[in-house]
Subunit: 456 residues, 2 copies
């Protein structure tokens, strides 16, 4: 996917434009700066602010204080956003957040310190403030935090004409809405009708005769990962959110779900590599170093464990230094085979393709794959080692050790993520160190153990 990176962005944020912007900042030319930035989309301005150096950013914010609006704040990543908010005057900040939908205000607020939150909440109209505070009462990463409270509803016995007349009469409709939700007198949602259907049906058609099959609701306390899954799995565009009594409290639209899906993926990818899952390119050196040190420390412990296995065979290595030369190959191949299986397993658990129904079949398949590739590469490595060191038994030992390590890698790669998931631990977070420990320990033990038994 990456060959064409930056093609699009460079259209908008190409080096020339960025340079022109930096020149305007250097020249303290606020007017030119405004004429360069004003035509850009909020998402591109946010990208620009993230990509320029902190010094240029500070200068730019000083020269262009009125330019920052709610949309730009929404698009910024957390660290930079805090910096930008601090640079804004209370009036500009108030104006910026007032233009946003409540779900976007919640999104900005939830990352902020309590004192800054109060400052921002104080800038809102009363009605919006209440809506935002209610959303914040739901747990972090829940559907309640994601939803917008602006919902277009109609009584379930209305017809198309009544719905259209109602929508024409309402002063403000939400920016984004794709369905009219039908509710009963107690505000329980009963179904929804797409706007396309409303528009293409005669005025006397009853709404409940043109509802969509795809309608479903989600409880406000459900985790946002489930929201993303439901949208992706059932191809939803919007989904009604209900409280514990099944009453409609809001609606989530697909753009929010897409955002969550993107964040979940990023989290999985970073966690699997042992990087703090909130890492971003604008983290300082210290933040980034800290975010990675934790996993490096865990890795140090597992590496020492593997070394202890080697040291148990120090005498064997002393008698045949070829073992020291070859042993990293066994461990490296096992580690890679284990990572392959583990990645497939973590991904399949995340997409819910790996379930209790097919677990046994998948485990067997992985074991078989491990055995096959273990035999292929064990044989290949045996030939190479035999030719390299001219000791037939050494060739046999490394071949057999590689088969065993590959099978252990397959077993560890599939069973460890599944086991972690069963104990409520995110498999993406913790599988890596466990799998590597298994492959290193088994690899060194099998190779050096067989060698000390067969060769000396």
């Amino acid at each position: 996917m990456a060959e064409d990176m930056a093609d699009i962005i460079e259209d908008v944020l190409d080096a020339r434009r960025v340079e022109a912007i930096q020149d305007a900042v250097d020249a303290q030319d606020a007017q030119r700066l405004d004429s360069l930035l004003d035509p850009l989309h909020a998402a591109d301005i946010a990208d620009l602010l993230e990509q320029i150096s902190p010094t240029v950013r500070r200068e730019l914010l000083r020269l262009w204080p009125e330019g920052i609006d709610g949309d730009i704040l929404s698009e910024l990543e957390e660290g930079i956003r805090e910096e930008v908010i601090e640079s804004l005057s209370p009036d500009v900040l108030a104006e910026a957040v007032r233009t946003l939908d409540t779900d976007d205000v919640v999104d900005i607020l939830e990352d902020m310190e309590a004192a800054d939150q109060d400052r921002l909440l104080g800038a809102l109209d009363k009605a919006d403030r209440v809506a935002v505070e209610q959303a914040l009462a739901y747990p972090e990463y829940s559907a309640g935090r994601l939803m917008q409270r602006e919902v277009v509803v109609a009584p379930e016995d209305w017809n198309v004409g009544q719905a259209i007349d109602y929508m024409r009469s309402v002063e403000t409709l939400p920016d984004q809405f794709y369905h009219v939700i039908l509710v009963d007198p107690r505000m329980k949602p009963r179904g929804y009708v797409t706007l396309g259907r409303v528009l293409s049906s005669r005025r006397d058609v009853l709404l409940h005769d043109i509802v969509e099959d795809s309608f479903r609701t989600i409880e406000a306390h459900e985790p946002e990962a489930d929201v993303a899954y439901i949208f992706n799995h059932y191809h939803l565009i919007s989904c009604a959110v209900v409280d514990a009594h099944d009453r409609l409290v809001g609606v989530i639209t697909i753009d929010d779900a897409m955002n969550v899906l993107d964040e979940e993926h990023e989290e999985d990818m970073l966690r699997m590599a042992g990087v703090d899952d909130e890492a971003s390119l604008s983290d300082t050196v210290i933040e980034a170093a800290k975010g990675r040190a934790v996993w490096l420390f865990v890795n140090l412990l597992t590496a020492i464990l593997a070394s202890l296995v080697i040291s148990a065979f120090a005498e064997t290595i002393n008698q045949m230094v070829a073992l020291a030369v070859l042993m990293p190959i066994v461990a490296s191949m096992g580690g890679n085979a284990g990572t392959q299986t583990m990645t497939v397993a973590v991904r399949a658990l995340a997409t819910r393709d790996l379930t209790s129904q097919n677990a046994l079949r998948v485990i067997w398949r992985e074991a078989a794959v491990g055995a096959i590739n273990g035999c292929i590469f064990g044989l290949l490595m045996a030939l190479i080692a035999g030719w390299w060191f001219g000791i037939p038994m050494l060739a046999v030992v490394i071949g057999v050790a590689m088969v065993l390590t590959h099978i252990a890698a397959a077993a560890g790669g599939i069973l460890i993520p599944m086991g972690l998931q069963r104990f409520g631990v995110d498999p993406a977070l913790a599988s890596g160190p466990f799998v590597t420990t298994v492959t290193d320990v088994v690899g060194f033990f099998a190779f050096l153990g067989l060698a000390s038994w067969a060769l000396l």
Copy 2:
């Protein structure tokens, strides 16, 4: 994200229901099978078909031939889909594909063999067949393959009333549409109006007075990865697709973009782990083994390269076996630090957060992070090695080697993905082996080289 996996799916596809379905298949009870499957959503039936064993699947398809419709085919993954299509009679297959939108037919067709493609195309109405064939004329993974050709357009001088009357008069509107696209007399798109705006505006309001800012077009030959990026970056719900002469040829909706985003993520994740990016849980053992052997082979070559470095210092190891015990720790820590940096870099390139504007700053930051963590873990490991083997100079050697390896890991982790991208190679695909080679070679060379110079 994973603690709550399967919560939702288990609601629908819980073990009990799956068991009941398998029982019905065993009892050859077609009627009970139908009553169990019929209420399920197509996506859930597809999941079920993927999760049961091949034998049960074959029996189920035999007992429930009329049940398979186009939606289920759309939801199935490629391998299983082929199997299902082969089991269907020509009539059932024809009926199944006829109910689908053309973009879904294209999605099914593009994975099929030429002979099967012809069979399926033959089942379509002439108009649909032409539309599908035109879509297939666009390159694979392009916007043209993704788009639907059913578009709702209006001349740019119409008012709201004319648009509503037109939509009421058209016999079939697309299943999914969210905007009316305004076109000039030569079918060049000029803007779009959300259905919500159409519904809430008076009949005499001109469409071009209520167009959305967010409107943009994409050329049909653009890669689908760019489509996903544009939707995510600019929060689009639908996007007009144009040909080389800027004429409207179709529209892409967010659900398709979300799908691509999901696939791109999966591809990146699998590629980084060295797994064939089209791997799926329903691959056979042979397919899976083959899909991973390629990368294992590359890894074998890099592991042998690292071994050659070790063998250059065989004499040194022979004189101090502690070196053999400790050297995997240096390589393992370097490999992990390199993977951390590489993952951050690959992700930032994919999200276009890492660009030529901030490359230099990011490279410096990574080098600094590597130096800091290298010093911390170098010092820690020096203390451990000193205490373990009681040789002060050995402690110094491993400490210094770890600092050097961490800096090399940081440099390799960031420069290799950026370099590959510049040469048009997907960084997710090829960074891993290069980075590991760098860290292994530098790690072994620094540690053993320093040891032979300082210790002997």
